[in-house]
Symmetry: C2
Subunit: 273 residues, 2 copies
């Protein structure tokens, strides 16, 4: 793979219907958005709960492939989740799957087992202030995945996912923190693997799009400020613990610098498109 741009097939579930020119089905675009989001929104139903509502939990996760760790972002990948999970969700994922073996053949068989989930990640990149409230908008990037979540029980796969997710928060943080995990830590950490069925991304960039009748309205143009307010996420100066004995390592300072640079550059470039 890598020679073709892989896309998720368009189905009833994932097809973007409104402003479809803003949609993308490319695995790389979708997986990149998921990986650059510090929190993912994970929706699922609780059939045992007498509740008509789906539930959304904010969780931490990262795309990866335990069977082929060198896979690219544009390859088919699983989503590994770890986060503020009520045991309710873990129980649902456990009860809806009989096995969590990771052999490719088993994976295929259990594809339609597991807890059906929807995962969403989004960034707001700018507030777009037009002449008319109706033409106000946001620049944004948003990705959605659909798949089946099962509990990872294999210790090697769990370790792979814990390293993947930790390094997704700060590059190289796994190796540079206390290793290895204790048996108690392994035991009390729960990881979900989501086999992805489909997905889509949607984005807006550019500036204000005013209607012609507003542009020709001298009264409105003489009164209304129009423009873009760029929005970006920033990381401030690292605050060491009182007992910290170590200089701030390069992986942390590099990460903070690159995070701030890349976010601001993307947002300002998108506003000018």
């Amino acid at each position: 793979m890598g020679r073709h741009t892989l896309e998720y097939p368009k189905t009833k579930t994932n097809t973007v219907r409104r402003k479809s020119d803003r949609a993308s089905y490319a695995l790389e675009a979708i997986h990149s958005l998921i990986n650059s989001s510090p929190l993912l929104n994970v929706a699922f139903n609780t059939p045992d709960n007498d509740s008509p509502f789906p539930t959304i939990l904010p969780m931490i996760g990262h795309m990866g492939s335990f069977d082929r760790p060198s896979a690219d972002l544009g390859d088919p990948l699983d989503l590994y989740l770890h986060g503020y999970v009520s045991s309710r969700m873990m129980n649902l994922a456990r009860s809806s799957s009989s096995s969590s073996s990771s052999s490719p053949q088993d994976k295929e068989q259990e594809q339609e087992q597991g807890l059906p989930v929807c995962i969403s990640a989004s960034h707001v990149d700018a507030l777009i202030l037009a002449t008319s409230p109706f033409n106000h908008s946001y620049n944004y990037r948003s990705a959605t995945l659909f798949g089946h979540a099962t509990l990872v029980t294999d210790d090697a796969e769990k370790l792979y996912a814990m390293e993947l997710i930790t390094n997704g928060v700060v590059p190289d943080r796994w190796r540079t923190s206390r290793q290895p995990p204790t048996p108690a830590e392994m035991q009390s950490t729960s990881i979900l693997r989501v086999s992805i069925s489909s997905g889509s991304a949607k984005f807006r960039d550019g500036g204000v799009h005013d209607d012609r009748h507003d542009l020709e309205d001298a009264d409105a143009q003489g009164k209304v400020w129009t423009g873009v307010l760029p929005v970006f996420s920033r990381i401030g100066d690292p605050i060491p613990t009182e007992y910290n004995k170590v200089d701030t390592p390069a992986n942390v300072t590099d990460f903070v610098r690159e995070y701030n640079k890349q976010n601001e550059e993307y947002v300002l470039a998108a506003a000018k498109k």
Copy 2:
């Protein structure tokens, strides 16, 4: 109202089970978080879709009360939604409610009608880098609401919600942009009113919480940097359109200044708690 701190009743649907000391059911805390979030995640099921998955859409919304516009954030409120809505969701909300009259009596009758939705908003306030990967965490604030969504068909209520939502993006933006909306704009704008059944909030603040055995591990403490990376959303300098003829108005410059000041102050104060 206003003399008591109102809370959403704890039910099977909204009760926070894990780390319940981090939970809040206070209407004011939950509604404030919803209102301070530029994008809301809205989950719903699509029963006509042959799909086992709930869907999440990012949408723009604000808490309000059409019947009592002066209501406080701590009062029972509706959530008004407007956003990147596929017509699918609007159709579901339309087909699952026979009326969207806004008289209090009718509202009560239709409370259990409408499309069941879950709404979630979350802020990441800091990355918490502990000695062991297992004790890594985030400072965050997260709110969840459950309710039934119906399409607003009354023009006065629609106008109320459009003003509420626009002013939720930038204070006083409605009055300071081109008014009134054209009939075509009114016609093509869809607003959902969500009658809230229950909700909860969850948060973490403070610094690193390391286990005693890690604090006493001289080898680990000699190697691992521990501390907090504060994360905050910033708005950059306003970028006027090429055809803009108006000085940046005070409501915009005040908003940008206050947004940046409040976000950074909250995040740094939370890290020190």
